[in-house]
Symmetry: none
Subunit: 192 residues, 4 copies
DNA sequence: ACTTAACCGAGACGGTACGTCTCGTCTTTAG
DNA sequence: CTAAAGACGAGACGTACCGTCTCGGTTAAGT
């Protein structure tokens, strides 16, 4: 069957892997990034420290593993039939994800740590951020297919101007990012 | 006389203070935030750990002290006679400050750490970020005074949309922020 | 079939058994008792750890297995025709065995470990030491049979006084135990 | 005053030092040499591990420090006025020390460990064993001064033959070493 | 000049977490 | 059923820093 064993030569324990990811997630949300230690993850997951070090070089690698699926699940924009609706819904989702979800807390911690760690920054950008950029393009690509937008529009630039402000407020100024704010962003963009 | 003493009851040693600030700055640039320890700052500054703990509660407080003057010196937008010129110059200055200067490295470290430390985030926002927001308004305020912009324009919103993209690329995506990019931002804004 | 198999339903592998004993012996002599780990024995013997744990409870049990035959082979006193000759030869053999042979190194390690481990001490005494005590009596028993000694002599006490000094110098003081020393012991004993 | 401080540049804490030595002693007696870990010593002594590593390279160094004074205190032979009395008393004291005292347990552990560690063996011999050899000579030196023995007697050899048997029984055979046994040793020696 | 008291350097202290090592157990696949 | 292989939970290792403390020396204002 392949996954519910205690450890053998033919592969790692899926049980231990998920226990570690969940423990890391919980501890980050409860005690913050500084309170997230390998020691505590191991204790909470009921796992030996060596098992963690065997599979993850550091605690940020655990967070990277834990974050990936959440992002794909929560940040894929739905097709609501129009660019206006798609963008309003997606920006509101992004704002809520970043400010209120556990996965958003993991994301903020990773971006924070990336400021101190260029290797992490590279990994984060080449994996999760690149993945998300593809998802952020979807509303625009669908709008072009519908004929709502000309086909030569610079999608990445447009998406970035909308997404950037949300991240800036979340990561830097700490100002709230509510529905009226994200709707205003869309209004401005569509009025252009 | 007030600054070159080894210690007495009537005040702290200015020599020790500046040695600590410079040591912290150097260590941050050389070894990154994780390599910045009180122990190493003390050793590099030729100062006792207790002297550091007497005056700064933590290493981020040292960085906050070290950062303040740099920001005011480097990020005040000059008056070049027109909104167009002022914005082009200011955004280019901000981009260069954030990506290439030592003070920019300190800023990025502080914003990074603020993701893990809400108290630091509050302090950063209520002091340095609030100060900078005032400076970022200057081009717009001068434009209103010149009659280039109507007096009811939402300055903070306008400034934020321009500044946010630069921060997003610096802090999150790591994309370069060169002169042509900042100029395009200004073009877009003025065309609106 | 009997001995050269890789693991099957017909019993343990003699090949694995001897490989373990030899690997343990080698590692003890090369790297000392602390450098003798089950992990290293398994690696050197080309055997799985579990195979060792299946057959030996601990590393000292491996050493006990390895030691037994050596002692019987090397420490049985020959009959040279007289008490004087027998004792001189035997004590010299014992001294040389303890100080220079690989088996002597194993013995010293076992006695050393027995100081920390009462269970090992008991096992060592009830097996190997009891066996050796029988062998150490032989010169005296032959001397009584020859009429060189009265039949009521306390053989164990006599043997112990001679053997003890050799062990003391080997285990405690580290002083050399050369032929002149053992001969002097015999001289003293016979002059009594 | 010089000894009751918490730690500063002018010297180590005597309080921490004695707490470590006592903890090590207690743990050895309670849990044996294998159960004696730096971790547990630190915990029991209420001391940081680093404090132990600062002053002692290993746990055997702690035991060496702890053992020294005990040996000098307990194993110095008193002058009872005659060789016969001095020897009987001293051998009985040695036997009792080795078999029943806490310090004797430390000694046995050190000698046991010395079988695995030549560096420890050298240190033990050049310090504590050399010191004890001096004390073991005292009854004989006093006997020569009294005229009980000729001045050319080989004191070290004589002392060793008596002492060795006790150590052999304690360290190797585990046989009891009671007063009648040590008295018989003295009888034999004096009858010679 | 002398006292006084805060500040200075140095560094030992009790701790926490690190990342590594080895232990003895458990689980799988092959013969 | 035994074997090899190796992942597992457990826990001690020795190191690095943390933030606190105590010490003796330095310095300058107030006697």
């Amino acid at each position: 069957m392949g996954s519910d064993h205690h450890g053998n030569r033919y592969g790692r324990s899926e049980q231990a892997r998920t226990a570690v990811l969940h423990a890391a997630d919980d501890l980050l949300v409860e005690h913050g990034f500084a309170g997230l230690t390998i020691e505590k993850i191991a204790a909470k997951a009921g796992v030996a420290k060596q098992t963690i070090y065997r599979w993850w070089p550091s605690k940020v690698d655990i967070l990277l593993d834990a974050y990936g699926p959440d992002q794909a699940r929560d940040l894929t924009p739905a097709d609501l039939g129009s660019l206006d609706a798609d963008l309003r819904a997606h920006l509101a989702t992004v704002a809520s994800f970043l400010t209120t979800s556990d996965a958003g807390a993991v994301y903020r911690a990773l971006v924070g740590q990336a400021q101190h760690d260029p290797v992490l920054a590279d990994r984060l950008r080449s994996t999760h951020l690149a993945d998300q950029r593809v998802r952020d393009r979807l509303p625009f690509e669908r709008a072009i297919a519908r004929g709502e937008l000309p086909s030569d529009v610079d999608i990445d630039a447009a998406a970035q101007r909308l997404i950037a402000v949300i991240h800036y407020r979340v990561l830097v100024t700490g100002e709230p990012v509510d529905r009226s704010f994200t709707d205003a962003l869309v209004d401005d963009f569509l009025a252009q």
